[in-house]
């Protein structure tokens, strides 16, 4: 019975991860063509702690080069021009949340060793910098 409860609990949490102070909601990775060299991961970071935290990187079997990126938007001749820039960190202030979304901030998976197929689930370990040191948080991101 205890085992069953544990399984149910694990299932209900499968696509949301809770550290003590950091919560990750609705993670997913964009399904891209098998020929692609890169894809992007999206999720919501909720910082429940009383201090700022920063996403500084991640580890996953599909890529050895995973970095946070921001999308820049400038106006050129009345047109919105989107660009992307690597950043060392994506900081979430105390008590706030940050949504990584298509066309916005995202986690970039580069030099893909394996292009994940739609419908698969990628285990990702997110690395945060917090005032009490580095913290890792394991999530499972469905590919769609």
């Amino acid at each position: 019975m205890k085992f069953l409860v544990a399984i149910l609990a694990a299932l209900s949490l499968s696509f949301a991860a809770h550290g003590a102070d950091i919560e990750i909601n609705d993670p997913w990775i964009r399904a891209v063509p098998p020929s692609s060299s890169a894809t992007a991961g999206f999720f919501v970071i909720v910082n429940k702690s009383a201090a700022p935290i920063s996403l500084v990187g991640a580890e996953a079997p599909i890529s050895k080069d995973i970095r946070p990126m921001v999308t820049t938007k400038i106006s050129a001749g009345g047109k919105d021009v989107m660009g992307m820039e690597f950043v060392d960190r994506l900081t979430v202030e105390a008590g706030k949340s940050l949504a990584l979304v298509p066309g916005g901030d995202h986690l970039m998976f580069m030099k893909l060793a394996d292009v994940p197929a739609a419908g698969s689930v990628v285990p990702v370990t997110l690395i945060f910098e917090t005032p009490s040191g580095r913290k890792s948080l394991a999530i499972r991101a469905p590919v769609r």
């Binding site: 891209v32 063509p33 020929s35 894809t39 021009v81 992307m84 066309g103």
Partner: protein, 239 residues
């Protein structure tokens, strides 16, 4: 001839009266028109172009390596997007959103849709690369490439902006391209009719609505039995 010239003053006076009369009619008329336009809610989700300029015709190479002429798509509705295949966020989001639009259209309307993705990174995006990329989102979508000068001319004609970002330190072939992100709609007569901003693209139903309005009211009534509003007189006038 200078000798034949009549005194200028009376004519200037007449001209002034005519200008004043025109202004007296035109200014209030313009104000009324603008206030009417402001009050009426546009039936269009995208940015509607009343000028309906002729879409710039071009020849590029499609992802099968065949010549592609835009003009040959007359009679269909073309959704035109610019991007590049190494683009990890904006371009896949754009193509995935357009694939949702394609799937949501009634079958008859789907046959009239042509989605065209023009690379703004022709150095790296060969037809083979595009073929491995663009149809992944929808097998009916077409990727186009060409020589850099032609691509630049096409992008300019459609108001698309792009600029190579600095490459990675360890690999000059590893670079991103900053680019504008709107999607243009060309109507069956080859006129630039609507444009959608990147942030509008997830609104599948709204874009489907615009698409069906461009196709015409007889098709517009077919979506799930719901009747969509017909085009306003302004739209008919622009045609």
């Amino acid at each position: 001839m200078a000798s034949g010239r009549k005194p200028a003053r009376p004519r200037t006076g007449l001209l002034l009266i005519i200008v004043a009369a025109c202004a007296a009619i035109a200014i209030p008329a313009t104000i009324v028109m603008f206030s009417m336009a402001a009050r009426s809610i546009s039936p269009w989700f995208g940015k509607y172009d009343h000028q309906a300029r002729e879409a710039y015709d071009f020849q590029l190479t499609d992802h099968n390596g065949s010549p592609f002429q835009l003009r040959n798509l007359r009679g269909n509705i073309v959704l035109l997007a610019f991007g590049f295949t190494n683009c990890p966020n904006i371009c896949p989001s754009t193509l995935a959103a357009l694939a949702n639009v394609a799937r949501r259209l009634p079958l008859e309307a789907q046959e009239r849709l042509r989605v065209v993705f023009i690379t703004i990174d022709p150095e790296r995006d060969t037809p083979e690369k595009l073929k491995a990329y663009v149809p992944f989102f929808d097998k009916r979508f077409m990727g186009l490439t060409g020589d850099p000068a032609t691509i630049a001319a096409v992008a300019k004609a459609y108001g698309a902006y792009f600029k190579k970002a600095p490459p990675a330190e360890d690999n000059p072939a590893d670079y991103m391209v900053d680019h504008s992100t709107s999607v243009q709609l060309i109507d069956p007569e080859g006129k630039l009719r609507l444009s959608f901003r990147f942030d509008q693209l997830p609104e599948t139903d709204q874009i489907v609505g615009d698409f069906l309005r461009v196709l015409g009211p007889e098709t517009a009534t077919e979506t799930n039995g719901e009747t969509l509003p017909e085009s306003q007189p302004s739209a008919a006038r622009a045609r």
